[in-house]
């Protein structure tokens, strides 16, 4: 039997201290990634430190219109939380379009942000993978890569980041709050996910023993009519082939502000800054949307089976923008569309 130990901690300091002291340990929250990867021998931590009892479950409204979400809050609870639904519907939608109801009941927000890629070669310990075992190569380059990235790739890795939530958070300039042996840090969501470059094994800047304690979403009034579009083969319970989180502010038919981020097509939750810059000041027309999409995907690189994702990425951008501008919904006070 593989040596594994399990312990529960009740306060953040103990959690951090316990994990920091043992390089073979890891935090355990919802378990939906960690237990899965343990079972297929990709994750090999020997000590699981259960952080579910930590007082990090709250979803709080921040003054000025922001929201703070505790790291062990459940996906299902956050998706239903009124402040989130009212102020940032794209976050609620991204959560509800992810995984299945059972998994959403288990998975934590911190765990969602830290989840590992679904690349089949990463998950197959017999296959070369620079992310799992640096220097072994990337089997996905010439392999079955229908689900792989076309943006942000390197010659070392083309795996997509699987989180829907992170796409919304990157669009919203959310900040990830951590606490570790070295103290507190605030990391912008976009910086939380480095490009793979030559080191795809470095998936985030969180040090061993450092704990994600919360996510803060700053105020963004236009996000109250935001939208998360997820394109996938089947109607539910599948990772995105392409997705877009979008919020737009219009004045007399002209885009005055926009937030756009993409999932499913990139190695990280992808803030579409090129598209945003094309859009600001442009009329909210399909032509503008297409120009923005073309700009964003201009440098996309495909590797065979995923060639379709370049065009799908463009069309997903256009559709998401059309949806949020064309039939931008009014949202009532209880968070429900009227």
């Amino acid at each position: 039997m593989r040596p594994v130990s399990y312990s529960r901690v009740a306060d953040v300091a103990t959690a951090i201290g316990t994990v920091a002291a043992d390089p073979d340990s890891t935090f355990l929250a919802g378990g939906t990634t960690e237990v899965d990867l343990q079972r297929i021998h990709v994750a090999r931590s020997k000590r699981l430190v259960d952080i579910n009892d930590l007082p990090l479950r709250q979803v709080e409204e921040l003054p000025g219109g922001g929201v703070r979400i505790g790291a062990v809050a459940r996906m299902s609870d956050v998706a239903q939380a009124l402040p989130v639904r009212r102020r940032f519907p794209m976050v609620s939608e991204a959560l509800l379009l992810g995984a299945s109801p059972q998994l959403r009941n288990m998975a934590s927000i911190g765990g969602n942000l830290m989840q590992r890629t679904r690349c089949g070669y990463f998950r197959d310990v017999a296959a070369p993978c620079n992310k799992r075992e640096p220097g072994t190569g990337c089997a996905a380059m010439t392999g079955v890569n229908r689900g792989h990235a076309v943006l942000g790739t390197s010659e070392y890795c083309i795996a997509t980041h699987p989180s829907d939530l992170a796409v919304a958070l990157v669009a919203l300039d959310a900040v990830v709050l951590t606490q570790g042996p070295a103290g507190h840090r605030q990391i912008p969501a976009d910086d939380f996910y480095p490009m793979p470059g030559e080191t795809p094994d470095r998936e985030h800047p969180v040090a061993h023993g450092e704990l994600v304690v919360a996510v803060e979403i700053p105020p963004l009034p236009m996000a109250s009519t935001s939208n998360y579009l997820k394109v996938r083969d089947r109607e539910s319970y599948e990772f995105a082939l392409a997705s877009a989180a979008v919020a737009v502010s219009l004045d007399a038919g002209v885009v005055t502000d926009v937030r756009l981020a993409l999932g499913g097509v990139a190695t990280k939750p992808w803030r579409a800054r090129r598209a945003e810059s094309v859009l600001v000041g442009a009329p909210a027309t399909v032509e503008s949307f297409r120009a923005a999409a073309d700009a964003e995907l201009a440098d996309a690189v495909s590797h065979g089976m995923n060639a379709y994702k370049i065009e799908l990425g463009r069309r997903t951008i256009v559709r998401a923008l059309r949806t949020v501008t064309g039939d931008a919904r009014m949202v009532s006070d209880d968070g429900n569309p009227p």
Partner: protein, 155 residues
């Protein structure tokens, strides 16, 4: 390690549990409750759905230790002496075939109707999206949900 928890309303104990073991394994192999099924061990099929502190979860992804001191309800614990209306509806609607996905689905439907007594069609479909069934074509499962919700006239 020792696991003490409440299962289907009764205090239960399992000793010498390996920390890498799942709640599903504890239920099936140690507590004699094989109702929740072991079909993918990766949280992908929903066959192992049980309540953990009142929320349906995939028991295959719950480390045994997480169940310590908590309350678990499995398909075996839903009927109160007799069949629960959800169980009756599954039989009456013909929503049962090979039966391997059935216990997980019954727990998921039980939870759906507890939260939303009269769910809309879209709510049913999404609420059950995590429970794969290979036999029925799902349609009869939707009928069973409507039946259990007292909306059989719509089916």
């Amino acid at each position: 390690m020792r696991i003490d928890c409440v299962v289907n309303g009764e205090p239960r104990r399992a000793d010498d549990v390996w920390a890498g073991e799942s709640l599903l394994h504890v239920l099936r192999e140690r507590l004699g409750l094989p109702g929740a099924k072991n079909a993918c061990e990766q949280g992908e099929c929903g066959s192992c759905t049980v309540y953990l502190d009142g929320k349906p979860v995939c028991a295959c992804l719950v480390p045994a230790g997480q169940a310590r001191g908590r309350e678990v309800v499995t398909v075996e614990g839903l009927g109160d002496g007799d069949l629960h209306p959800v169980q009756r509806a599954f039989i009456a609607a013909g929503a049962v075939q090979c039966g391997f996905c059935t216990p997980g689905l019954i727990v998921a439907v039980h939870d759906l109707l507890a939260r939303t007594p009269s769910p809309a069609e879209e709510e049913i479909r999404e609420a059950l999206a995590g429970n794969l069934c290979r036999c029925t074509g799902y349609e009869k499962i939707l009928t069973a949900v409507r039946l259990a919700a007292g909306r059989e006239h719509e089916s």
